[in-house]
Amino acid sequence: MLNSRRRPLGLALAGLALAGTVAGCSNAKGSSDGGSSSGDQQFTFWDPYPQFDGSSDWVKLVSSCGKDAGATIKRTGYDTSDLANKALLAGQQGSSPDIIVIDNPVISTLADAGVLTSADELKLDTSAFAENITAAGVVDGKTYGVPIGANTLALYYNADLLKKAGVDPASVTSWETLNAALAKVKAARGKGITFSGIGTEEGSFQFLPWFWGSGADLKDLASADGVSAVNLWADWLKKGYAPNSVINNTQTTAWQEFATGKFGFVENGTWQMGNAAKLGFKYGVISIPGKDGGAAPAPTGGEFVSAPVQKDAGRYATTTKIIDCLTNPGNLLKTDTTLSYIAPIADVQQQQVTEDPKLAPWVKAVGDAKGRTSDNLGTNYPIISEQMWGAFQNAMSGSASAESAMKTAQEAAASKVK
């Protein structure tokens, strides 16, 4: 009787010891990193790139910037949707990292929480950076970080499919011409356009070019222009120009649909350039058209580098050095090429285009782009965004008309913003 009880327990303990040894010996490369040299101070560094481990260019760059500044960097990569909450939690517990790289619309939230130091306190020079990109990190006139790179949205098109359908991509310059092109693609037995209309910030991100391109302003969702943008999307679904799956699509899923070769257009971003090269058909990129012509302003994606508040203000000197190192023009070219971002400094942008001409339409798009939290929307933006995505979700799924959906959204947003 004793044996039968001991055996499973013994087995478990043996397994435990074995597993522990295996895990310990094959020392996890993990997504955290730290080289050490005695005498250096240890600085913590958080970023939203868990896909990069110790052997990647990004981590090597971070470590070397640290060494140049006289610090050993302990770097951890987190899931981006989680990083804001972790930053808040760490701020509450007084264990904030020294440097954080985080999605640009979150900067105003963290600044509002008092977690970040301003560029003035850090004595950081932000004049070289393009204004429309830096604007996302400006709260009440103070800058709370510098952009590390920008990306934005444009329309990729399937050149082969459009040719078959008799559509000239250069003719797509307004909503009208876009709809005409979609009709032609559908007539040629293709599927029109796909995008991400999911009920998260990703969906809002994809909706904004159409919203801003109609002339609407985030401070008034229920304007006629804003409603027309929602109607654009809802009509696409009704007419069959866009598949029903867009209601739940992430940007990755939308890209996968495009990659099947059946779609004429996909609204997607700079980061897909690497994948675009692997497509089984010829493709091209055009700016997202505004309602009445011209390029629509698209929202800026991309992260900012920022310095959370530390108890020991003496650390800021080294922190500033590290941030300078990461974002100086020389290193920016390397960083942004690795991350598939457009540089936030005009000169470096030119260098990027020289090296890779395919980036030209993207540089233009980034030049036309706008920060979501700009216009001093700051922490009001997430509130408005949440209502906005609820509205277009309801309109696309047929539970409400575009007008009533946006009206409800505007009322809810207005009651909650500061």
Binding site: Q92, G114, G398, S399
Partner: protein
């Protein structure tokens, strides 16, 4: 009759009874010695987070006051905000539907499978073990796989429907079907739990009872109704109660599949709590915690009902 006697001796009593034969005082104090680890657990790991959650719901937490820790006490304002929100009614209704339908199907299917696999045929053990494989998968994988299966355009379920000439259903993107889609996925995830516990309960029924029943001339269904099911009542009760508690908490599946949408068509109290707290770029901890506490209160009520049921059973 033999069945009656068996009923009393091998009934699994989940209630801690205070019957005639009270153990001596020393014994009872000694009992607490065994409970020390669990008590430490409860205080450190449950009481503290629960206290934090109640506190979060009673104060006005902005991101700034969350970080600095000096939020204003506002009493039940967060709860008032939650009750008057248009989403509240939908969340309650959806939670009720989601929970009761899921549990009903999970339990019935789990029970049927447990009885079926309890028989000793070739591979019955291995096949039953394989039923647990879904639990090995991180929820992000299982939920994503179901999203894949139920995709309006490229999902295999719609492809099958099309092959049979049936209309395609927008499982995840239609307000009518989104709740049904997440219920289906949740039933799938819950079956192994019911299967394992009910099977364990079945193992505890001595073979002699089944033999006696067969000798009495009862067929499979009668044996089930008069022998198996009554003897499984205590185990069933705890399975259903735990299933209820766990289903109330279900969040990952719904969140990954539909985010509670479109609109609020598949929002339950659990997803709403997360959405308020962490769902947008601006966390709204107060109302999120308030909804979380409402959930806990609902579970408390059902827990009390269970205890009353148990007491009534013991008195019989």
């Amino acid at each position: 009759m033999s069945i009656r006697t068996a009923d009393r001796t091998s009934r699994v009593d989940t209630r801690v009874s205070t019957r005639e034969e009270r153990p001596p005082r020393y014994r009872r104090l000694l009992g607490w010695a065994y409970l020390v680890p669990v008590l430490v657990y409860l205080i450190a790991f449950y009481a503290y987070p629960l206290y934090r959650n109640v506190e979060l719901s009673l104060r006005d937490y902005t991101v700034r006051s969350f970080v600095s820790g000096d939020a204003r006490f506002i009493g039940l304002d967060n709860f008032r905000e939650v009750f008057s929100s248009p989403t509240f009614a939908s969340a309650i209704i959806h939670t009720a539907i989601f929970t009761f339908v899921s549990i009903a199907f999970q339990y019935v299917i789990g029970l049927a499978l447990a009885v079926f696999y309890n028989q000793n045929f070739r591979l019955s053990g291995t096949l039953r073990a394989l039923f647990l494989v879904p639990w090995l998968l991180p929820l992000i994988v299982s939920a994503s796989t179901w999203s894949w299966l139920l995709n309006s355009e490229s999902g295999v379920v719609n492809a099958a429907l099309e092959a049979f000439g049936l209309p395609q259903i927008n499982w995840l993107t239609s307000p009518t079907w989104s709740l049904i889609a997440v219920i289906i996925a949740n039933i799938w995830i819950g079956i192994p739990f019911n299967l394992v516990i009910l099977h364990s309960g079945l193992q505890n029924i001595p073979d002699e009872l089944f033999e006696a029943s067969a000798l009495d001339g009862a067929d499979a269904w009668r044996t089930f109704r008069h022998v198996t099911f009554p003897l499984l009542k205590p185990v069933s009760a705890i399975t259903l109660l735990l299933g209820f508690v766990y289903t109330l908490k279900v969040f990952d599946i719904i969140w990954i599949m539909t985010r509670g949408g479109p609109g609020a068509s598949s929002t339950t109290l659990s997803t709403w709590s997360y959405q308020l707290g962490f769902g947008s770029l601006l966390p709204h901890f107060g109302p999120g915690a308030a909804v979380g506490n409402i959930l806990i209160i609902v579970a408390l009520v059902f827990g009390l009902l269970y205890i009353r049921y148990e007491n009534a059973q013991a008195k019989r």
